[in-house]
């Protein structure tokens, strides 16, 4: 394959690389203080444009599976879909930051690091080899460690960054150890070779390696019992960073898990589906019960995201194509619900300082009707109340679980969703049933409003397009596996 073809297949990645490199130049050479604002403006539009361009370039990619770089990198309809989702999430997150209310994180470095992280995610999604997997994962993680501690004058932000880094390094270690075991027993790092090696006798070493790999990946999607870092990092990191954490990396990490389980280790699906079931049940329970007592809204959303990952894993545990399709649909709704929720949280300020306590939301409906109504829709959707988008995600993953004979898993899932409904309702109660004690600042930035309206439209009108979406997703999944 010649260079031009290579470029055309990995086009989105190359676009992001080009934008990132030019950002370095822009940020380095425009250092006089009076032009800082205009530099920032340029940086913002460059990075947003980069995401937009990369997103558009997805439509120019060839259909069907194409493998590049000696089998390290592959694209297909499924990967393109997930890349689109990740880019969309990254666009939302960066767009939310660029309203200038970014708690001091809206700097050139931030946009550059996020670009690099997103590049890592795209590579993760396309990884077809354990080495490529690890490279992508680290390219994603290292910038995220830095931006978690972006607010240098805040102790909590530094703590969050450090915690994230230490535990992230631990999980990378586990993942590497697992990968080395797999390499030792399978004799190759390529997914395809691992899959073939499973046709013979499956050695214990391979299974153990797979367990370590999955543990490392479970950390990245913050599935219980590897979730400990999530609440602290969500709470400690600046809110725009939390928004990014909540929306984007999980899409990529979930895709990795799907690739590893459905493709590389498809031969031992009984083994990994046991692990996924355990992860799923633990996450659903921890997520639902852990959120109840939280006072900080970011912490609550951290537990809520743990629960969401549990639901998504329930679809994956089914080990079927429709399970995979269910996870994809779930992640799609998850991106929009996360974007909607954070566009609201980032609009909440009192005396120009961000508010994070759940009780600060009380009486929101009388002072900020749009924000309150939006939050209500997002909360009902997260609780899985039809006809909102969140319900359909749950419908598909539980349907896959039931079809795979995992009815008890589905029952645990729906029961924890009732527990989860309690804390979502609590927020609605505060906003609508109680009066405001101290009013929040007026107004909502243009950026926040746009993201909010877009995600609300998606959540509310999702039922109209579910037929088309499930068709597209289903076709891509079948084409892949």
């Amino acid at each position: 394959m010649n260079l031009v073809q290579t470029f055309s297949v990995a086009l989105p990645e190359f676009i992001l690389v080009a934008v990132a490199l030019s950002l370095v130049l822009v940020a380095a050479f425009a250092n006089s203080s009076e032009s800082e604002a205009s530099t920032l403006k340029l940086v913002r539009s460059l990075s947003l444009g980069g995401y937009g361009l990369a997103f558009l370039s997805l439509f120019m990619l060839p259909a069907g599976q194409v493998v590049l770089f000696n089998g390290l990198f592959a694209i297909d309809g499924f990967a393109i879909y997930m890349k689109g989702l990740a880019l969309l999430g990254a666009f939302f997150a960066s767009w939310l930051v660029s309203d200038g209310w970014g708690e001091g994180v809206d700097r050139a470095e931030f946009h550059l690091l996020v670009l690099m992280a997103v590049l890592g995610m795209l590579l993760m999604i396309s990884a077809h080899d354990l080495i490529a997997l690890y490279m992508g994962l680290e390219l994603q993680s290292l910038p995220l460690y830095v931006i978690a501690s972006m607010r240098t004058n805040s102790l909590r932000s530094s703590e969050a960054g450090l915690k994230y880094f230490l535990l992230g390094a631990l999980s990378s270690g586990m993942l590497l150890y697992g990968a080395s075991l797999v390499y030792g027993f399978a004799g190759s790092t390529a997914y395809a070779d691992i899959a073939t090696s499973l046709n013979d006798d499956v050695s214990v070493g391979l299974t153990v390696g797979m367990v370590f790999l999955l543990s490392g990946l479970a950390f990245k999607i913050s599935a219980a019992p590897f979730h400990m870092w999530t609440p602290d990092v969500y709470e400690g990191a600046p809110t725009p960073v939390t928004a990014l954490f909540a929306i984007v990396p999980k899409v990529a990490a979930m895709t990795l898990i799907m690739n590893v389980t459905y493709f590389a280790f498809s031969g031992i699906s009984d083994q990994w589906s046991q692990i996924l079931i355990a992860l799923s049940v633990a996450s659903m329970i921890v997520g639902a019960t852990g959120a109840i007592m939280q006072q900080n809204i970011k912490r609550m959303l951290a537990y809520s995201s743990i629960a969401h990952m549990g639901y998504a894993l329930a679809g994956l545990a089914a080990g079927s194509l429709e399970g995979a399709a269910g996870v994809v649909i779930y992640m799609t709704t998850y991106v929009f619900m996360g974007a909607g929720a954070f566009s609201i949280i980032m609009s909440l300020r009192r005396d120009d300082a961000p508010v994070e306590r759940i009780s600060d939301l009380s009486g929101l409906s009388s002072t900020h009707p749009l924000l309150a109504a939006g939050m209500m829709v997002v909360m009902f959707s997260m609780a899985g109340i039809p006809p909102l988008a969140g319900f359909f995600g749950k419908w598909y993953v539980f349907l896959a679980a039931v079809n795979a004979g995992l009815v008890p898993l589905a029952i645990i899932g729906v029961l924890t969703s009732v527990v989860g409904a309690f804390y979502y309702l609590r927020i609605i109660k505060l906003m609508y049933f109680e009066d405001a004690d101290a009013p929040l600042d007026e107004g909502i930035s243009r950026q926040n409003r746009l993201v909010l309206v877009a995600s609300l439209a998606f959540i509310i009108l999702f039922f109209l397009g579910i037929g088309q979406l499930s068709g597209v997703v289903g076709a891509n999944i079948v084409a892949f596996f």
Binding site: P386, P387, L415, S417, V418, G467
Partner: protein, 498 residues
């Protein structure tokens, strides 16, 4: 019979378009409130007018579903946008569209803050209710069935009484818990049959052991909605805290969703399990009828008393449904419609005096007849209809249920009849304490007489209760074929047992 334009869809979604309209209302707060009320009233009134065409166009001699609409929704998955009505669902749709404008009228003066949001919630609620009764697809049914929770949660929580938060949470979580178990069963049914189409599912034979579990899952949801003893405890709280119109809709329509669900899902789809569980349901219903009647006797709060009486009346409904014979099911249907009208009227009776004295304590009243004679007349009529006086709709339903129950199991009919006596006790006693007696308190004598708006709400309710009592065939003719068709689906072996 089948009109060329999608009448059912229009009726279902017209209220939603009213919501969009309401969003556009601008102006000062008082202006917005008045306009919002008018818009909501006109939209719901027009919806009722349109739903009359369902009645006019309905062919009672046609077996199966009418006004059917089917559009591909999730292609290739056996899930479609499928609406249609038969003799079982049509009366409920009319009941819903009839009660919504009345309850909007009932909240005319009593809702003073966030009037626009309130009207929006009611119109969304109407769409959900009508859509639920019209759905012929299981997934759609679930969407609407659960969707009802959202507006009702807000109506109780925002415009309710002192303990509204507790009541709203209890209402929401109780119903959700039941519903999610039903959701799992729906997934299993979908997996088994590959379709969510209700008519196809009704024709599908589920294995008896599977039916056992599926029945229990659906039972968890519908029993909470009906509500049956012992999962009825959310109802008194929700009723007491909800605003008057919320109670009217809650008792008038929402409780019927459980009974409708039994008729639409449990009986035709799990006939073996229904047969198996009938004794359990009889036992629970009899306990409900007797126990909640006794509890009602002990209440000091008017709304709570009527709420408990609702549980008792719905006990008759479940007895009738699981008698699984023509009289029982027709009686249960009749009882549901009748209770929908009567309980809505009774809650409005409470609302009328509550608006004036701001208390629901029975002891705060007495001798209301002196100040409000017309009110006393309406209240008496509705009270007697609730007791089941011949000539009112309450009588027909209860009598048919008792006949049906007697044919199935004598003991049920005997015990349920005790509940009738108790029902007369608590209702008459309530009436005596509130309306009769000497008006000693000065504020009672100064009560304003019934306003023309309140009069306007009572009149249609009274007319229909009387009409159905005197000439029940209006309703029974519509239901007859659907009921016998339903019994045919349950299977000859079961019907032969009767």
């Amino acid at each position: 019979m089948n009109s060329s334009w999608p009448l059912l869809s229009v009726i279902t979604f017209l209220p939603l378009s009213g919501v969009l309209f309401l969003m556009l209302v601008r102006g000062t707060e008082a202006n917005v409130a008045t306009n919002a009320k008018l818009v909501a009233l006109w939209v719901s009134g027009f919806t009722f007018f349109l739903s009359l065409f369902l009645y006019v166009g309905f062919d009672p001699d046609f077996v199966g579903y009418q006004f059917e609409e089917q559009v591909d929704w999730i292609s290739g998955a056996g899930i479609s946008y499928h609406l249609g009505i038969d003799g079982i669902s049509m009366p409920f749709i009319l009941l819903s569209t009839f009660l919504v404008p009345l309850s909007i009228l009932a909240s005319w003066g009593s809702i003073t803050h966030r009037v626009r949001d309130y009207m929006m919630a009611f119109l969304v609620l109407e769409t959900m209710m009508v859509g639920m009764f019209a759905s012929l697809d299981m997934l759609m049914f679930y969407l609407f069935f659960e969707g009802v929770l959202i507006p009702m949660f807000l109506i109780i929580g925002i415009w309710g009484g002192i303990d509204r938060v507790y009541a709203a949470f209890k209402f929401f979580l109780y119903t959700l818990l039941g519903s999610v178990l039903m959701l799992v069963c729906m997934l299993v049914m979908y997996q088994q049959s590959g379709t969510t189409d209700i008519p196809e599912l009704a024709a599908f034979d589920f294995a008896p052991t599977l039916q056992f579990w599926l029945f229990l899952g659906f039972f968890a949801s519908f029993a909470v909605k009906v509500p049956m003893w012992p999962v009825h405890t959310w109802l008194p709280d929700a009723h007491v805290q909800a605003p008057t119109a919320g109670s009217m809709i809650l008792a008038g329509v929402l409780l019927k969703m459980g009974g409708y669900g039994f008729l639409r899902f449990s009986l035709p789809m799990f006939p073996d399990a229904s047969d198996l569980f009938a004794p359990m349901i009889f036992a629970l219903s009899v306990v409900a009828v007797i126990y909640t009647s006794l509890v009602a006797l002990a209440q000091s709060d008017m709304k709570k008393l009527i709420a408990y009486s609702s549980v008792a009346h719905m006990g008759f409904v479940t007895i009738g449904i699981f008698s699984m014979n023509e009289q029982g099911i027709a009686g249960a249907m009749f009882q549901m419609i009748s209770h929908g009208l009567v309980s809505a009227a009774l809650f409005f009776c409470v609302g009328v005096v509550y608006d004036r004295l701001h208390t629901r304590e029975i002891s705060a009243y007495g001798g209301v007849v002196d100040a409000m004679p017309r009110y006393a007349a309406f209240f008496m009529f509705m009270m007697l209809a609730s007791v089941g006086l011949p000539g009112t709709s309450g009588f027909v339903g209860e009598m048919l249920v008792l006949v049906g129950a007697w044919n199935r199991a004598n003991w049920v009919a005997v015990l349920a009849a005790i509940g009738l006596i108790l029902g007369a006790c608590y209702m008459l006693w309530l009436y005596r304490r509130v309306v009769f007696g000497r008006a000693e308190k000065p504020e009672i004598l100064e009560l304003e007489a019934l306003s023309s708006r309140e009069f306007l709400i009572f009149v249609p309710l009274t007319v229909f209760v009387l009409w159905f009592g005197v000439y029940p065939s209006t309703l029974l003719d519509i239901m007859e074929l659907a009921v016998s068709d339903l019994l045919g689906q349950i299977g000859p072996q079961q019907t032969a047992l009767r």
